[in-house]
Symmetry: C2
Subunit: 248 residues, 2 copies
């Protein structure tokens, strides 16, 4: 049984439409590759009580929880102290990070705001990735930056310490001219016979024509290929030759 | 007090990393414009018990809930029957949609799969937008398609029937060379004096240099402008002339 993952995107900027979240798609793909499929994403605001209650709910429900955002030095960066509150542990000076940041900044530069970035929940394990201020893990919760390039470096630094499962793979095909309503019954039949796969049907609308892509995902490549071969037969029964893969 | 909104994105394709969600940013902006700010987003899989429990949790917590995805004709489209289950009402033939779809398709085309799209929770109000198969509202839950172009048409058809509040506006400035840690204390002070605004600080990293953008959001344009004027003074106190707006 693969471990499961949940992502909590913390920050008003996604909820206000200022920022297009780019972390979900990256983590979704990478977590699938390491066999810890992403099962839920929540985007929540910079409100302490929301962060604390959300973390406590999801860390009980999923094998691992990843958070992005809210670990910088400004007033809206409250993730770290909220994680401490969620775990009921003190939020205190992290000596390794404190010493590193103190040495890094010129005199006076390691001010109260930056000292907050060197303050972590007691028991936090650093996610060290070459940045001056690291992320951290506590229990099954992994706290990362929101800036995509930094988040990615942190996640990749974290991967070797994560449990893994069977990689989630996918096989797909598509064809212009197919309509979902004409294949739905046949597709249901295939899904029922390949119960361990997730078979998804995705209509598309574009030049030179509308069509449908079918994607079979799971941890068994042989089953995924067999299911897609049956979908190909279904498409051909409607007089349409499918194209391997997804529409480019 | 503005009404609040929650978005539930239903579909394995976002969680697997196949699809970059495009509906959140559109709805976040539009909901801000009509004064019903988006307060939470959840991305959940096509699993009935997850959909039902999520809908029942969030419809009690937010003024309005919007869902995208899972209303097509295939086996993975289970949103509509799950909404009926969440409200504890029958999922039954919707006579207007049924008659329209029956007339639209050639003989035999209105098959069992498409009949599911004409089946809705008892009491559902159609979100009619020119598509053959509409979305629907029940209580404070609004059920829309996942395909972005169709979702947008449904949302815009829905807007006139939604309550509205004071539009959320934003004012912003930015400057290359400013570091968050150097303005954090001054920014906290400004946030405390403009408690009704959300003041966000967003570092950026790119050519020709790294910098910070500050965004003040709220329903009072005068307050937002005054706050941003104070941020400009803060930037100048560090010897940096800010640029109005966000980095392009």
């Amino acid at each position: 049984m693969n471990p499961t993952a949940c992502l909590i995107v913390i920050g008003n900027e996604v909820l206000s439409g200022r920022t297009q979240d780019a972390n979900t798609i990256y983590l979704a793909k990478r977590l699938g590759e390491i066999g810890m499929p992403l099962r839920e994403v929540r985007v929540i605001p910079d409100i302490a009580e929301t962060i604390i209650s959300t973390i406590n709910e999801v860390r009980a429900r999923f094998s691992h929880v990843f958070t992005t955002g809210g670990i910088g030095p400004t007033h809206d960066d409250i993730t770290s102290e909220c994680i401490a509150a969620a775990f009921g542990v003190p939020w205190e000076k992290q000596p390794v990070v404190w010493a590193r940041m103190e040495a890094f900044y010129p005199a006076g530069g390691f001010n109260a705001a930056r000292q907050r970035m060197a303050t972590m929940p007691r028991g936090a394990v650093l996610i060290d990735n070459g940045h001056i201020a690291p992320g951290f893990s506590i229990g099954n919760v992994h706290v990362m930056a929101g800036v995509p390039s930094i988040m990615r470096a942190m996640f990749e630094a974290l991967v070797p310490s994560l449990p893994t499962g069977d990689p989630v793979i996918s096989r797909s095909l598509h064809a212009v001219g197919i309509r979902e309503g004409d294949i739905a019954a046949g597709l249901t039949d295939i899904q029922l016979r390949y119960a361990d796969l997730d078979i998804g049907s995705y209509p598309y609308f574009r030049e030179p024509g509308a069509g449908v892509a079918i994607v079979a995902k799971g941890t068994d490549p042989v089953a995924a290929e067999a299911a897609i071969a049956e979908v190909a037969t279904l498409f051909r029964s409607l007089g349409t030759e499918p194209v391997p893969g997804e529409p480019g």
